[in-house]
């Protein structure tokens, strides 16, 4: 260890791996993973989301799953919680749609309106 900067760089790298255990207020993506969700292909969505988050090295994003949200016919679906924003529910997702949501909503803060439950219904 030669300098504080070196330590800091190391810390910034390391922190990403343990981030999940800290309390935080960042973005939370919840994937509906009950039997209906899994049957409709939620695992593919989950993998796509995780892949995007990892690729973009996004911090302060957690991905969790939940049980049946109650609109099984619109599965697979996810809910995005961001501080200061209303919950956004995206439905009838595909892998491509999921990747686009990460890029546009999570990174740039623009809700992808056409995938939301409001516009599909």
């Amino acid at each position: 260890m030669k300098s504080l900067e070196e330590l800091k760089a190391l810390r910034d790298q390391a922190i990403k791996k343990v981030d999940i255990r800290k309390e935080k207020n960042g973005t939370r993506i919840v994937v509906g993973m009950a039997t209906c969700g899994i049957a409709a292909g939620a695992r593919v969505i989950m993998s796509a989301l995780m892949d995007e988050v990892a690729k973009r090295e996004l911090q302060d994003v957690t991905i969790t799953q939940t049980g049946c949200i109650g609109v099984c016919r619109l599965e697979p679906l996810i809910e995005v919680y961001r501080a200061g924003e209303e919950k956004v529910t995206y439905v009838e997702l595909t892998e491509e749609k999921a990747r686009r949501i990460v890029a546009e909503h999570i990174v740039n803060g623009n809700i992808v309106k056409e995938y939301t439950i409001g516009s599909v219904e």
Partner: protein, 598 residues
Amino acid sequence: MDFYRAHVLVCGGTGCVSSGSLTIEEMFNKALEEKGLEKEVKVVRTGCFGLCEAGPICIVYPEGSFYSHVKQDDVNRIVEEHLLKGRIVKDLLYIDKAAPVTEIETSINNVGFYKKQKRVALKNCGVINPEIIDEYIAFDGYQALGKALITMSPEDVINEIKKSGLRGRGGGGFPTGLKWEFTRASEGDIKYVACNADEGDPGAFMDRSVLEGDPHSIIEAMALAAYAVGAQKGYVYIRAEYPIAVKRLGIAIAQAKEMGLLGDQIFGTDFSFDMEIRLGAGAFVCGEETALIASIEGERGMPRPKPPFPAQKGIFGKPTVINNVETYAVVPQIILNGSEWFTSFGTERSPGTKVFALGGKINNTGLVEIPMGTTLKEVIFDIGGGIPNGRKFKAVQTGGPSGGCLTEEHLDTPIDFDTLTALGSMMGSGGMIVVDDTNCMVDFARFFLDFTVEESCGKCVPCREGTKRMLEILERITSGNGTMEDLDQLEELAYSIKDSSLCGLGQTAPNPVLSTLKYFRDEYIAHVVDKKCPAGQCQDLLSIVITEDCIGCTACKRVCPVDAISGEVKQLHTIDQAICIKCGACIPKCPKKAIIKQ
């Protein structure tokens, strides 16, 4: 970079390992693999979560779900339900015995046991994987060392510690900053820092937990101490009874060396520091600092007269600063966050937090860290969950074989170094053993004396001979042969041993006797005069009798090994006291609970 959406933390502390947590960890890995989740969910072995009673313990993040008493069959359910489908398995979550059952807390942060705690020394325990240096660094590890070496002079470091008011957590409560200042002021080109990890107080295990759960914090703190006092080398003296702690610290030292956090020119400065582990070999007295020095030097661990103090003449005759594990554990945070942050917790003369090991007759046995000044009641009832089996709180013993008992009337006492000493007990290393109305206080005192007699090193007469005589008197009393003069003699012996022993072991050895004599004298008198043990624990003073509730089922009669029970079917049975060996085998057999000890 690998991204995991969930972490499963499995406690790898001694307590949980003993209840099988390593198998649980293995099963998690296997179950995750079967479900194809191994790239999404990571299993992390951490140090102690503190709530050993509930082991094996697992926490699932990001939810912070706190699963307790996890059995092998439960693993598949947690993986299938929680990690695959996202449904927290509520019936496996920890249930707080102290809180009224309204709703089960799904996050660890809301569990009563943790709510009132303030974790400073235990900050990383149960949060990081202690065998991975990156995780320590992620939680601000080695920042304090970097800050001190680059922006602070050794005097600055000492001043910051002095301002923080940090007092030694090993028992004595001596101001740490002063100790460092004395060592810095001592003449000598070679100096040492030492860590006292010879945690011998039976019932205290916070040092073990820190070493197992956060070993790098000790390395960082010792490096800070070395920089402050001008030392080049450190020794950690650990009990050999703590194999997991020894192993993890060894791994941590190797990692720190590899990263250049130990060795030459740390952080590009002139400061160089190296350290090694020395094992104790089962002698309680080696927790006394001069005995510890003797042991490191390869001698019998016998204390030496002070002065000279270790700060003047310590290991191999060189100035040495010796601190306890828990003391070191808070040092990096004081340097990083400043002394004012530290003094914002605790009381004026005892700033900061203290870790206590709750044990004995208490629901939530385990480790708790609380701000100094928290009352005994809060610790025992709010955090500790009170006394099990509906029994009554009788006393709490603090400070182990050096401390004393506190009773119900002291429950509102705020805990700090000075209040405990004033009440005839002491902080000690922070063991807190709770006893209920079925524990005999005379026998409890005898237990501690038995310990001291065994562990007395034999160097000075008052301790070697005096404690032995005290033990003999106590044995007379618990076997029903004591006299009232014995009580006076016990007290007289106690005071002369306190006054004339060489080291802390002897000087404090009579405390358990003195404090029980003070607060539970009537129990001693019951043993001596009535020849009765009110708690029903001293075998020689007991008789087992059958009450009127007997229905004559003969169950007791059949189990008695010496045929002391007589009586016909459906008739009241009796026990012949001359034959009865008081084994108690009959007691659990009675369907009417009609057999009692008295």
